[in-house]
């Protein structure tokens, strides 16, 4: 597909757990399953390592979307990490929605080490979604000052 450099290219931060999702991203790579270069991956040991502050910081610094990927519930390398992450992110996303911030800019997806296809599909659909939302304005400043 030809690349249109004029269109809106969002900045997307993907936090991937080392054991499943980062490996899933590697598999997507070795299987040459393309997804937009807008996605930049940060490796964390587990989805439960992701502090909501990291996500808010990304938005404050200009990210247009943040996605968190971890092992499927029940398959966490550390047994229970993704269960905590699931609660934290549910509450955080609900709060962002409450503040009137588009909830399409945040996502959690469980991607195993064997799911290269899912990783690629997830990133494609997430980038698509964020592109449709346009540049992030509201999450830049949750104090919401004018």
């Amino acid at each position: 597909m030809p690349i249109n450099h004029e269109e809106f290219r969002p900045t997307i931060v993907a936090f991937c757990c080392n054991w499943c999702s980062y490996a899933g991203a590697d598999l997507a790579g070795s299987s040459r399953l393309a997804y937009p270069a807008d996605v930049k991956i940060i490796r964390v040991p587990c989805s439960c390592r992701v502090n909501p502050m990291f996500i808010l910081r990304a938005f404050e610094k200009g990210a247009d979307g943040v996605i968190l990927c971890g092992c499927h519930p029940g398959d966490c390398h550390y047994s229970t990490g993704n269960y905590y992450a699931r609660r934290r992110m549910t509450l955080l996303f609900s709060m962002l929605d409450y503040l009137g911030v588009e909830n399409g800019r945040t996502r959690v997806e469980w991607v195993s080490a064997a799911e290269g296809v899912k990783f690629s599909e997830t990133m494609n659909s997430f980038v698509e979604k964020v592109r449709s939302l346009g540049p992030n304005v509201r999450l830049g400043d949750l104090r919401c000052k004018n």
Binding site: V13, A37, R49, H77
Partner: protein
């Protein structure tokens, strides 16, 4: 201030074809703290590594960033190279510009821009890296093998022969597994039991092997070298020490109408039973769901007839706790359920059977004493149709997307054996592809066709229609002849897809071993580490990792054993230094972190703290770095940020975020 070196790998053309590596080097030199940057065709090569070492020595680098393939590939390589050059190995960060960049993007400008950003994030992180020292942990010199089939038995024997203790946990009353149900094995047509039972006996007699049959793994904790496992030894209601295996109890048991699992439910067994004659241990168990004594309180025949006094109705499940250094999963497979394949009339006609059922029918110890006969009326079948790929290679949810691998060969075996023993019986095989890679495999298949006259038809069967006269009408197609075929058969055999044992998901969860969508356990690397799970200390043996036949299973079992031996041979293991650490000055002592720690690694101490001149006793969190595995769950519960993770600290991750969003 760090002095950082950036090394950009071409990976031949894998990276360089899509990423302008020179440009990345150029951009790296603009980054604060970067005093050296270079590119090289293969950074992981000996020459590439010496360039890194030379730069460390010449420029006095304090941290390095390698822009290359995934850290899961070569992080260890570059850390070792740095260590050899006198740099702390944890001062190395990898920017993954291959799997996460060059391999998935086509546009050079775009991929170069992304590679630059990934490089910047790694540089930003390495600025905040601190030298870390790996700790040590002891290795328990004992292995656990989960599953007592041929895979588990072979792994256990190999480990035990090397002089280490091994426990086998098998959930059924006897070891032996799926192989014990087979009649003959391809391509040599050996009698399966004849080659398996000596192995079973060897395992049982081995001084280093302890077998827990009728037992299940209940709980697993700990980590590589130091697993603690709870094993539930289900009550057999028969004392193993006293039972002589005479079999009188089974003969006299009045409850005899229970489907015999070993014969795939094709005949019945008694409530007190040993699954098969060569069972090890040759000690029966009482099936309490069928036992009259357990259901009504009245009976007790087995107790009366047992001369050894081995029957004990009051026996209870027992939970034993053992420590292991390594765990091997060898949980094997079963055939899939065929409920959703109505078109093949399985379950509608007794004469439509699976291949595994045919194994039992052909076996001398099976329900028909080895005579090939229809299960509906006991008549000898004159026309047998085999259908391949039943549930294999299916993209819908009725079956499995993978090739079960063994069906082509066992179908050829069955066809050949039937034609050999019953020459007046015609055998037709409907196939999609005949897959026979393997030594002497294709020759074997050709013998079935050429020497034994098995009729192979390329095409699938659409429907099997039971007829009023008891025969079966098979509607198929011959794609090469362009003809639809209606064939009358006396028996239809389905080459049913295999799937991992249903318990494996539960076991994988306990072991935190990764598992794929088909319930096969994932290997640490599909090519280079095929018998290891990504979870350290957990190894894979047999079909639990993917479909395979007996020789492959035995080979993999041996390979897993070698890996286990390699681990158990070490006295101590280096531990991951990326563990949590609490800042005493910031800690509130609120216990939230301890609540989420999966390893119980956080405890609390009351300590005298000197907080900028204020001296007071405070309750503060203390992390046991030997137990901590570095997940980071605690760091997020900590509102003050006292708890942090070495190697993935708050500031490091925020620096990466900032670099990406810059």
């Amino acid at each position: 201030m760090q002095k950082i070196g950036v090394f950009v790998c071409h990976c031949g053309s894998n990276i360089a074809a899509t990423v302008d590596v020179k440009k990345v080097v150029e951009m790296a030199l603009l980054e604060q703290g970067v005093v050296h940057a270079e590119d090289y065709p293969y950074m992981c090569s000996e020459a590439g590594q010496s360039r890194i070492a030379a730069a460390i020595a010449e420029k006095g680098l304090t941290g390095i960033v390698v822009c290359s393939c995934s850290p899961r590939m070569h992080e260890a390589t570059f850390r070792k190279a740095a260590e050899r050059a006198g740099l702390n190995p944890y001062m190395v960060e990898i920017a993954n510009i291959r799997e996460h960049c060059s391999w998935i993007h086509k546009d050079m400008a775009e991929a170069t821009e992304k590679a630059t950003i990934l490089m910047r994030a790694a540089v930003a992180k390495v600025h905040l890296n601190a030298p870390l020292q790996a700790g040590e942990s002891m290795v328990t010199k004992r292995a656990l093998v989960i599953g007592g089939g041929i895979a588990g038995i072979q792994t256990a024997i190999d480990i035990a022969d090397a002089g280490y203790k091994v426990d086998i946990v098998e959930k059924t009353p006897s070891i032996g597994g799926r192989m014990s149900q087979l009649d003959k094995t391809f391509p040599t047509l050996d009698c399966s039991a004849c080659i398996l039972t000596p192995k079973m006996v060897e395992a049982a007699a081995h001084e280093n092997i302890t077998i827990h049959t009728y037992s299940e793994v209940e709980k697993v904790s700990g980590f590589v070298g130091n697993f603690t496992v709870d094993i539930r030894k289900k009550a057999r209601y028969v004392d193993i020490a006293k039972c002589t295996g005479c079999g009188v109890c089974q003969e006299k048991c009045p409850s005899k109408k229970i489907p015999n699992e070993f014969n795939r439910g094709l005949n019945n067994r008694s409530a007190i039973y040993t699954p098969f004659a060569q069972a090890i241990p040759n000690v029966p168990v009482i099936d309490t769901t069928a036992c009259i004594k357990f259901k009504t309180g009245k009976c007790g025949v087995c107790e009366k007839v047992c001369q050894a006094g081995a029957i004990n109705y009051k026996q209870q499940d027992e939970i034993i706790t053992e420590n292991y250094g390594a765990i091997v999963v060898a949980t094997g497979f079963d055939t899939i359920k065929l409920d959703q394949y109505g078109e093949y009339a399985y379950g509608q006609s007794k004469d439509v059977i699976t291949s595994l059922e045919l194994e039992r029918v052909m076996n001398a110890a099976g329900p028909t004493k080895g005579h090939l006969e229809r299960l509906s009326d006991g008549k000898a079948p004159k026309e047998i149709v085999f259908i391949q790929c039943v549930g294999s290679r299916c993209s819908d949810d009725r079956g499995k997307p993978y090739c079960s691998k063994i069906c082509c060969m066992y179908t050829a075996k069955h066809a050949m054996l039937i034609r050999d023993k019953y020459p007046d019986t015609n055998v037709t095989v409907f196939y999609i592809d005949v897959r026979t890679p393997g030594k002497n495999f294709d020759e074997f298949y050709r013998r079935a066709v050429e020497d034994y006259g098995v009729n192979y038809i390329k095409g699938q069967v659409g429907k099997v229609i039971p007829q009023p006269d008891g025969s079966l009408l098979v509607q198929g197609v011959d794609l090469l002849d362009q003809k639809q075929i209606l064939k009358k058969a006396d028996m239809v055999v389905l080459a049913t897809a295999i799937e991992p044992n249903t318990d494996v998901r539960k076991i994988a969860t306990m072991l935190t071993a990764s598992i794929d969508t088909n319930n096969f356990l994932t290997e640490a690397h599909p090519k280079l580490r095929p018998v290891e799970s990504p979870t350290a200390g957990v190894f894979l043996s047999g079909v639990c990792q993917g479909p395979k036949d007996i020789p492959e299973t035995v080979a993999q079992a041996g390979a897993a054993a070698v890996k286990v031996i390699g681990l158990l041979a070490k006295d101590k293991l280096k531990t991951n230094p990326c563990t949590a650490q609490s800042d005493e000055l910031l800690c509130n002592g609120c216990s939230q972190c301890a609540n989420v720690c999966p390893y119980g690694a956080i405890t609390y101490e009351t300590k005298l703290i000197n907080d900028h001149g204020i001296r007071e006793d405070r309750r503060v969190a203390v992390v046991n770095s030997a137990l901590c595995q570095g997940c980071g769950a605690c760091t997020v519960t900590c509102p003050s940020g006292a708890m942090d993770l070495k190697g993935f600290s708050n500031r490091q991750i925020l620096a990466e975020v900032d670099a990406i969003c810059r």
